[in-house]
Structures are given as structure tokens and as C-alpha cells.
Symmetry: C2
DNA sequence: TGATATAGTTAGCAAGGCTAATTAAACTTC
DNA sequence: GAAGTTTAATTAGCCTTGCTAACTATATCA
């Protein structure tokens, strides 16, 4: 066992806690009937509004060909619309349909309620610490200038 | 937009913070040359010691056939050993080799140092809040009795 | 106008998830 | 102790999702 500093030890525990949290939350997503990458891409369109394929690929940190296929699947299920951008006819405009928006909201609500149910077992002081920690983590992980 | 309770709002932010944290940390894993599922399975063997394929599959929350293939790949790269359990000859005993252990430690160290580097931008009070939050999250997410 | 750049798609590969079916060993039950 | 059942692991075959390379179509620039 290599010796870890105090901060490295914290980093290690933070990492493993994040993994376990997401593993449990992910189980809830199965009931949307959507595979993870599709659900995630749909979520970006619902919350981020209409955008091009390249923008969506960048947001999801995947390459355009990967997103092109995910978009194919979402379109054929009627969850998003793909139209040609008339100002630049090379580009497409992607946007969630009513159906896609509804499905996403159901899934999101289920996942949030699942996590909230667990968080409700804590007291206010504990939840407040999580709140502070989220702020600190976001500050720590923010892109350096 | 559906209205979320205070706790649900916290759940939502916690979820998205965990996603972003892991996305950034994962980038570090590429330099091990191991795909994510393989790295994760190897990690369980290094830290959890020798175990059967079923146990490893359960630990990784995948089905045995999935783990069987991951184990094939790790074995053919010389990172783990697969031997027959002499007390139950249906079962195998999986354990990390020296080489597997070394590679895992390098990757883990890199990931932890990456996170620690970010955490070091915070002050002691902020880190202490993260520490408290980890404890609270673990308490909240623990399997109910 | 011709060259270059950009948006998106297609083709083809690898990893990793699954279920169903198979094999081999262990256990149960009479 | 032979027959049936259960269990551990594997094999086969499917789908999703990541990638690069190569292509098409449109836009931009010199």
C-alpha cells in the first residue's frame, strides 16, 4: 500500500463515493426504456434547447459519428426532431419533441426522487454539509483560468 | 418545469456534481491502457483479494457472462491469474498478478493525484466540509435495514 | 472560379452490457 | 448410489456506444 497524503485520501474517498452514488441512481433510469447515452443526449436537448449535432456531441463529450447514431435512434423513436438549418444547410437543428420532453421528465423525476428519499433520512445539518460540499467541489473542479 | 422540493433540488445538484467529477477523473485512466470495465474489475481484485467469477461479477454489478469476457481479456494480458478452485472444481479463483497490481496502482495514483490537485485549491474548512458530506452521503445511501 | 474548411454521415472496428443455452461439477433424495 | 436438481462458468449471439477514416454536401476565402 502506497502512503497517501491527507488530501489524497480525501480524493480517494470522494471518488469512490461518487461512483457508488451514481451506480445506485442509474438503476432508476432503466424504467425510461432508454439506453444511457440516449437518455443523456435527450436531457441536454431538453434542458439546453435546440442545437446542432456538433454542439450536442461536444456537450456529451463524444465524437460526431457517435452522436449521429444516437440521434438516429432518438429520432426514429420520435423523441427528437432533426431539421436542416436554413442559414447553413450543412448543419442540422436538433430539438426534443413533446414526447421526448415528457419521457425525460418522468425519468429525471424518478431518479431525483430516489436520491431525495435517501437524503431525507438525514437531518438538516447533514444535508447542509452536503450542500456546502457541492459548492466546494464545484469550485475545486472548475476549469483553471 | 416541475417544481422541486428543497431536498429534491439538493439531490439534483448532488447527482450532476457527481457526474462531472467522475467525467473529469476518468480522463486520467486512459494512460493505464486499460478500458474502464477492465480497470474497474482489476481494481476489485487488487483491493478485495482473490475471489470467484460470480463474486467479482456481483461486486461489479454485471452478469457472469459479461465478467467472463472481461476476465478473458485481463488474463490474456497477464494482469490476473485464473485457476480452478480445488474445493469446488466448478468455480475459478481469480487474483491479480504482480503486473496487474503494479499497473492498477499507477493508474489509481494518477487519478487520485489529479483529484487531489484540484482539492488542494480549497482551504481546510472547505475540505473538511467535503469530508463531512462524504460521511453523510454514505449514511444516506447505505442499504436500508 | 478553384481551393479549402466545415457539418454531418457512413463504414467498420472494439468494448462491454444483456439473455439463452450449454457444460461440468456438486448436491439431494430416495 | 443413481437420478434429478442446482450451481459456476462459459459460449453464442444480440444491442449499444465509443472510436477513426473516408466520404458527401455546403460554405467560405483567395
Amino acid at each position: 500500500m502506497a502512503k497517501l497524503s491527507k488530501i489524497e485520501e480525501l480524493a480517494d474517498r470522494l471518488h469512490s463515493t461518487a461512483i457508488h452514488l451514481l451506480r445506485q441512481a442509474r438503476v432508476q433510469d432503466a424504467s425510461t426504456g432508454l439506453a444511457p447515452a440516449r437518455l443523456s443526449a435527450l436531457s441536454v436537448l431538453v434542458f439546453g434547447g435546440a442545437m446542432s449535432l456538433n454542439e450536442l456531441a461536444r456537450a456529451e463529450q463524444v465524437r460526431p459519428p457517435t452522436m449521429s447514431r444516437i440521434v438516429d435512434a432518438l429520432e426514429s423513436e420520435g423523441l427528437i426532431r432533426r431539421t436542416v438549418n436554413q442559414l447553413d444547410r450543412r448543419a442540422v437543428v436538433l430539438e426534443a419533441t413533446e414526447k421526448g420532453t415528457a419521457i425525460l421528465w418522468q425519468g429525471r423525476k424518478r431518479r431525483i426522487k430516489f436520491l431525495a428519499k435517501h437524503l431525507s433520512r438525514l437531518n438538516d445539518a447533514e444535508r447542509s454539509k452536503i450542500d456546502d460540499a457541492i459548492k466546494a467541489i464545484q469550485k475545486a473542479m472548475a476549469r483553471q483560468s
